[in-house]
Every structure is written in C-alpha cells, then in structure tokens.
Symmetry: C2
Subunit: 207 residues, 2 copies
C-alpha cells in the first residue's frame, strides 16, 4: 500500500480540523456510522496487541444524569482552585457537551489483561493506558472525517466512574466521550480562541 | 470543512496499514519530510491545550548505543519472566528497530507544566500522558501516509532514560520512537502474524 501526496494532505486536513467539541446538535448518528467508528477505533495500535480498551455506550438517562452530577462536582472543585479573573474566565468556559451529545461513551482500560502476555509493558505498565489514548485518538479522527465532533471529558472522579459502571477489579476509567454533529466548526482550539491557553509548540532538539 | 466518503475511506486505509515497524531500511528521511512530521504531531489534542510532549532527535552514536544497552537489559529481563515454548517464542521476536532506523526520537511528558493552567487534569493528572500518546499516534499516521514506518519502543527502563537525557525534574519518559522506510508492508499486526497474540475486539455494550 503506497500513499501519495494528496492522501498526506487529506490526513493533514483531518488533523487540523479535529476539535474537542462541547457544542453539539442533538440529531442522532446513524447506527451504520457508529459501527464504522467502532471498527476504526479497533485499528489502533496496542502494546503487545493487547487491545486493553473497553467501551460502553451510555444511553440510560439515569446513567447520563449520574455522569453529569460527577462532572458538576469536579468542575465546581476545579473552579474553586482559581481566583479573580482566571476563576471568572474558567466559569465562562463550556467544558463538556454532556447536555446534548446524542452518543456518549465511557472508556476503561483493563490493567490486568492476559492479552499480549505482558509483552512491551514489563518496565512501563502505563503503555496500556497509552494504547487506550491512541484508540480514542483514532476514534476522534474517524468521527471528524465523518463530520462528527468528539469531546473528551476528563473533569470527572475516576473512582466514582468505576463504581457507577460497576467495572471489574483492574479496570481503570480512561475517559468519557461525547459525540454528535457539532454546532460549528473551527480549525483552532477553543481554548486558544477564547484566550485561556494559546497554541504553542516546541522544536525537536537534536542530540 | 466538510469531508466526504472518499476521504473517510482514505483515513480508514491509513489506520488499517499502520504498523508497529521493527524492520527498517537505513536510507535517510528528507529533512522537509521530518518538518512535516513534526507539524502533524503538533496538531494533536492536548488537555487544557497544554502540549506536554517534548521530543529529542537522537543522532549521536553514543546516545543510541546507550538506548540499545537499556533495551537489551530490559528485554533480557522480560525474556527471563517466560519459560518453555513461550520464552523461545519471545526470544525469536524482533521487538525494536534500534539497529537500523535512520530517525530516532525520544519523547517525554512534562507533568508539572503551567501551560493549560491545570484545566482538565485536576482529577485525572494522567491526561497529560494521554495527550502525549495521542501526539505519538498522530505522528504515526503522518509517517504512514508518507510511506514511512514507526516503531514504538517501551521495553526500556524509564528512570534510566530520564537520567540518560538529563531531563528536568517533572519530565517523565513516554516512549522511544524509531522511524524510517520499512523493509516490508502489512495490513496485519506482526504479533498476530507470528502467533504471539491474535487480533481481537470487544463490542460496545449498551447501558
């Protein structure tokens, strides 16, 4: 499989127009598209080919309400850490699309999996979490190229998420994902756009 | 920016033909391509727009030799954990392209960065590591669409890597990356191909 310059430019465009979306329309995503998203996520790399991510679709209003309550508690605690203008700025930010996103996923990482027979993680157990993060990133891009937005919510108490979803011992909460058609598009991160944290990058120093 | 079905299929093809590469040709990568890879990596999402990854290009033969020695120690220790047929199978695997890859990068995560002003990581500090993992995944795809291979090496002692590269307090080793043109291509993970760990996936249970 040889890729060409045009295909490289398409990938660059997908990467550039991927955003962390918090403003969603409520119209549903076709089930066939959701199947494609799952298949794309499953193409992610994983340490030892262990595939440690586990995903639940959260449809129940009660579960969604419990996640929102968890978010509200954590977000209030985070806001209380700031003061003055920064606190006011923080409180103006909309940091999750939990209110509207039609598809909501909760993602866990199995830290005691036998899959992969431990390969690649003996000295760096955290590579299992890295695998899950990469799978989320693959899902993110697959959503974007289908003109869907994804928002990754981490303002949550992970222990409470593990209790809420009653996961087995050894499963650790990784992220809660909101997906749906975005209310608007942008090639610039919202936190840069609103002045919270500007974009920056660091050169690759040569040694 | 609206993407179409053909662009979705191109992304699917890039995801499907991405591999963890350990067999590299030694011909150099053009500097202009390396610049494109860096730019693509910098489009990755990061918690609070904090951009916590730091990358060094490892050119010096002495540094490369020290990394190989670290890998050899960790790989021998990993092999010693297995016995019988599985140990023999493990010892037959080539798990890194450190011997040949023309471009080698070492990646760290800044865990005490002020960038992002703590947003999104108060209850989940590990999201900084997730950001670095996603940036590596973006680099991986950007390499693949340029017909380059990338191999992520985690069979390393992270403390020794932090000492070797003399990084500031608060920087944690994330991964060592080998890049170059691959000796062969495949749409199937090597660990599945050789029978170490077959591919598998889990459905998204609905709650």
């Amino acid at each position: 499989m040889k890729f060409n310059q045009q295909e490289a430019e398409i990938l660059e465009c997908i990467l550039r127009w991927r955003r962390d979306v918090r403003y969603f329309r409520t119209d549903a995503i076709d089930e066939s598209v959701i199947d494609e998203l799952q298949a794309a996520m499953d193409l992610a790399p994983s340490v030892g080919n262990a595939h440690p991510w586990r995903v639940f679709r959260v449809d129940s209003p009660e579960m969604r309400a419990a996640v929102r309550a968890n978010f509200n508690r954590c977000n209030a605690a985070a806001a209380a850490d700031y003061s003055g203008q920064r606190q006011a700025d923080y409180l103006r930010l909309k940091l999750a699309g939990l209110d509207a996103a039609p598809l909501q996923l909760t993602v866990f990482t199995v830290t005691d999996t036998q899959k992969g027979h431990g390969l690649g993680r003996r000295s760096m157990a955290e590579t299992l979490h890295d695998s899950t993060a990469m799978a989320i990133h693959g899902l993110w891009l697959a959503a974007r190229v289908r003109n869907l937005g994804l928002g990754m919510v981490s303002i949550l108490d992970p222990d409470a998420m593990e209790r809420l979803f009653d996961v087995p011992e050894g499963w650790q909460f990784s992220a809660y994902l909101c997906l749906g058609y975005p209310e608007f598009e942008d090639d610039t991160p919202l936190l840069h756009r609103v002045g919270w944290q500007e974009n920056h990058a660091y050169p690759w120093e040569r040694l």
